[in-house]
């Protein structure tokens, strides 16, 4: 019922930035991730969807270096790598924005953006930091009223924007967004989706973890479905309907059939 072979989308000719093969992770007796393959390409938004317990969070945490994987191999730009700590992940060029954003509410936007990598040690270069903050936020067309107000006074979408902007300061190649639109209103969700598109335009590989099918359909190029710790289908957006994805998530249909069906229908739907 599940499928383990990687499915390289036919549209891609360039090699993936990041390749994961046969990733597995157990917590005691619980097998959170059985065997998962994932390719991340530059200039592409790949959505990872799945039911609760499908292994999305575990996969993200392996990528972010929070939990090292038990099994499987990772290649970053063709090199075999191991990620055993958050620092490893960051050094490789993988930036992760967790769902709780990890912002300091009492600090202003600039301080949050540069937290842990301030310019200047004994005399902070506020001017440079503020200038770069403005540049970065403008590049992302972010709607932040001022970079000198406390993060606490920003809306949910703005906070998400600040968190994403912060991840870009390290000049990453891959950005992982964990449920970026959960708990956001309609307008703010749109704001964040625009932002995700801008990340793609910047040439980044974006991994989007989401429960929200509408968001996934709106912004992703490719959907990877996980089910019970295994791959359960991979679909290019535009050749697939929301129902197909939901079916793959819930395991309602046989995966191979689904894939065949989506493959044939893809030509009619176009995109």
């Amino acid at each position: 019922m599940t499928l383990a072979q990687p499915i390289v989308p036919p549209t891609r000719t360039d090699p993936p930035v990041l390749t994961m093969r046969g990733m597995g992770k157990s917590f005691g007796a619980v097998q959170a991730l059985a065997e998962v393959d994932l390719d991340i390409f530059a200039r592409e938004v790949v959505a990872i969807v799945g039911d609760n317990g499908a292994g999305k969070s575990t996969l993200v945490k392996i990528l972010a270096g929070v939990h090292p994987a038990d099994r499987g191999t990772m290649e970053f730009e063709g090199r075999r790598v191991t990620v055993s700590s958050p620092t490893d992940s960051r050094d490789l060029g993988i930036a992760t924005v967790f769902q709780d954003l990890a912002l300091c509410d009492n600090l202003d936007v600039v301080s949050n953006l540069f937290l842990g990598r301030e310019i200047g040690t004994l005399a902070l270069n506020e001017i440079e930091m503020e200038k770069r903050s403005w540049t970065l936020l403008r590049q992302l067309s972010a709607k932040i009223p001022s970079v000198r107000i406390a993060v606490a006074s920003l809306s949910g979408g703005q906070r998400q924007t600040v968190a994403i902007a912060r991840s870009l300061l390290g000049d990453p190649k891959v950005v992982i967004l964990d449920e970026p639109t959960a708990a956001l209103g309609v307008a703010q969700t749109a704001e964040v989706l625009n932002l995700i598109e801008r990340l793609r335009e910047r040439g980044l590989g974006v991994v989007l973890i989401s429960h929200n099918m509408a968001d996934v359909m709106a912004v992703a190029d490719r959907v990877v479905v996980l089910r019970l710790g295994r791959n359960n289908g991979e679909f290019p957006i535009g050749q697939v309907t929301q129902e197909d994805i939901v079916a793959a998530i819930t395991g309602a249909t046989d995966n191979v059939v689904t894939r065949r069906a989506s493959g044939t229908r893809g030509h009619e739907d176009g995109s």
């Binding site: 300091c104 001017i127 001022s146 406390a150």
Partner: protein, 455 residues
């Protein structure tokens, strides 16, 4: 005025009062406050420049009116900063000044300034601990232990004074090292660690003092002269005022120029000039008034310098930023790559060292160390000063200036009530009420910030 050690040996409190009474004891308050306000103003001004100008609601902040409107807006939404304390100081001084004109006399203000230095230094350490949302209940005991070490090693063992001082400070630092080890390694709440420290270190203090119980430090020793009799020469005090005003103006102007070059909003030159002239006048007048009596106590100057240095470290260095980050959210700080344990380590060590330094200053002022050094209400006065000054008990909000503002409020009340011949029972009750008001203001402004989305 001799508040912190009410139940001290007769010897001790006597000495304290003598010192205080020397010049009618009252003046300290006014002087200190002026100086403090100036200083606070300086920093506040500095920060306001940064904040107000860039705040969204004050896009017109380039004009002085805009700055004022930004200030009003922030205050309304609960971002009170030091405002309540400054108002409190003005009220307290006004009331005591009316009730007893001696209160605002220069001699009283000179003394008030001196009284603030010791516990103010301890409160400075408390500010640091509170900023990372921790507490240190043992600061009083540490200050007492430092005093005991100084007295015993200097007078009994005949160590040179500098060595004795360094030894006392080193013991303070080691205690902080131990606390941070316990906290970061075992995760024991600092409340409990320092509660144990409160008792254990008090025991250590009594052990060091031994059977003597009370040791006098010779009046002609440097530390006693420093704490009781050394004052800035008038010319030097005016030089300090000039340097402070000009220094502020020049740095602010250079920063504004660089901001303009970077195409960021900058404070207009007029405002900078006005600010630095105000700063100079405030300091100058305060120093002039104090100089009509004995002058600006050197111990107070040292305390002020510590406040300025710590303020710089907290607001302008990477370390300071990480202290605020840890106070705001430990997890966020950790994920941002800040070595959280190192921050806790530095904060605990600094705060216990400052407590030890405060104890040395107190011992110098008292010219003695005894079993009640650092006892009585030293602990709670220092913590209360930090909180009254506007440092939040909940972490991540506050400033070095709050130690200064808070201790001035507390010592002003003490001095004023003493002048009115009210005894310590009233003083404790009034100080308690003021502390309560300060905490209520903190809680209310937190709520208001939350309502206005500025939490």
């Amino acid at each position: 005025m001799s508040d912190p050690k009410a139940p001290a040996g007769p010897d001790a409190s006597g000495a304290d009062e003598t010192v205080v009474g020397e010049t009618v004891a009252d003046e300290t308050v006014a002087d200190e406050t002026v100086a403090e306000e100036t200083a606070a103003d300086e920093t506040a001004a500095d920060e306001t420049v940064a904040e107000v100008v860039f705040e969204e609601e004050s896009l017109d902040a380039r004009s002085p009116m805009g700055a004022w409107r930004g200030f009003v807006s922030r205050t309304r939404t609960g971002d009170l900063g030091s405002l309540p304390v400054v108002i409190g100081v003005i009220l307290i001084w006004g009331i005591f000044g009316i009730l007893n004109p001696d209160f605002l006399s220069s001699s009283n203000l000179v003394n008030l300034a001196l009284q603030c230095a010791a516990i103010g230094t301890i409160a400075l350490g408390v500010v640091l601990v509170l900023l990372v949302a921790q507490i240190d209940l043992s600061i009083g005991s540490i200050s007492g232990l430092a005093a005991a070490i100084l007295a015993v090693s200097f007078t009994q063992w005949n160590w040179p004074l500098p060595v004795a001082i360094v030894a006392a400070l080193a013991v303070g630092a080691i205690i902080g090292l131990f606390y941070s080890f316990l906290y970061t390694r075992f995760g024991v709440p600092s409340f409990v660690i320092t509660l144990a420290g409160l008792l254990g270190i008090l025991g250590l203090q009594l052990y060091v003092l031994g059977s003597l119980g009370s040791i006098n430090i010779p009046f002609d020793s440097w530390i006693v002269r420093f704490a009781q009799q050394m004052f800035l020469p008038p010319w030097l005090s005016y030089l300090v005022a000039v340097v402070a005003g000009a220094g502020y103006g020049i740095t602010a102007y250079l920063a504004a120029v660089r901001r303009k070059q970077a195409e960021l909003e900058a404070v207009p030159a007029v405002e900078i000039v006005i600010r630095s002239i105000l700063l100079f006048l405030l300091l100058g007048v305060a120093f002039w008034y104090l100089n009509t009596n004995r002058g600006v106590g050197l111990m107070f100057v040292v305390f002020m310098a510590l406040v300025v240095i710590l303020n710089y470290a907290l607001t302008r260095t990477r370390w300071g930023r990480s202290v605020f980050a840890v106070g705001g959210s430990v997890e966020a700080a950790r994920r941002a790559g800040i070595r959280v344990n190192r921050v806790f380590f530095s904060v605990f060590v600094l705060s216990t060292t400052l407590a030890a330094l405060g104890g040395l200053l107190a011992a110098g002022r008292l010219a003695a160390a005894n079993q009640s050094s650092g006892g009585g209400d030293t602990n709670l006065t220092a913590i209360a000063a930090a909180v009254i000054g506007g440092t939040s008990l909940f972490g991540g909000r506050g400033s070095a200036w709050s130690a200064l503002l808070g201790i001035v409020v507390i010592q002003s009340i003490a001095s004023g009530l003493t002048l009115l011949s009210l005894d310590s029972s009233i003083r404790y009750m009034v100080t308690g009420a003021v502390l309560l008001v300060a905490v209520i203001i903190d809680a209310l402004s937190r709520r208001s910030r939350a309502i206005h989305g500025r939490a």
